[in-house]
Assembly symmetry: C2
Homo-oligomer: 108 residues x 2
DNA sequence: TTCGATGATCGACGATCATCGAACATTCGA
DNA sequence: TCGAATGTTCGATGATCGTCGATCATCGAA
């Protein structure tokens, strides 16, 4: 058990215990919707520092926490760096079509 | 022009001028989501008084106003009575699949 | 071991929100 | 004309939210 310390990192909810209202609330904010959009543009992870928005670092951390608590994204810690990614597969089975539909509606 | 007074009634937004965040915000509240759900259950209009929720009448009026401003529903006044209905057709062309997907996600 | 970097958390601020009762406007019926 | 019914608006209240700077905890590198 001398594996590289998993360093517990942030907590993620079980998607079955996340309500629709929670997800909608998380998405119903311009900055957060933009983040989700950005993550959906490309497959896989995104480095924390690549999320380049005109907001304070603590504010970004706050928004990511809300998205995380809503089950929308996954936060992985590697050393001192962080990587985020969409939980799109799980979301699809818990809220079928929701993420794709919302993202599609935004592109207009 | 002696037609039955249209009694201007509440104002409704043009859907093209309604943003996605506005719609999501309107749906991201338990009482309002419930109202939309209720309206979707059956085709056509619903009488104001048929919306039976454990909230004050002024609070219901408030929520209906928010839903109306988000382009989600239509308010028709007939004399002193009011009738509400979903703008589902228009919503479908402005936000394809959104309403149906959200309602479908809730039924779980 | 110490230091710099990275992100989370804290505390505070003003803004917005959901809620209510009261007052109001409009309409129909007596 | 008067009064009851219906729904909107107003004002107030307590809660939540987005935002920030400051601080803290953790980790890798020197």
């Amino acid at each position: 058990m001398t594996s590289r310390s998993v360093s517990k990192g942030p907590e993620h909810p079980v998607l079955d215990e996340v309500g629709l209202v929670t997800v909608l609330s998380a998405l119903a904010e311009p900055t957060r919707l933009r983040i989700v959009c950005m993550l959906a543009e490309r497959e896989g992870e995104r480095a924390w520092k690549d999320i380049d928005l005109p907001i304070a670092q603590s504010t970004l951390s706050h928004h990511l926490k809300i998205l995380r608590n809503a089950g929308l994204l996954l936060n992985r810690t590697e050393g001192t760096r962080c990587f985020v990614s969409l939980r799109d597969q799980e979301l699809e089975s818990r809220f079928p079509g929701l993420l794709e539909t919302v993202l599609n509606c935004r592109d207009r």
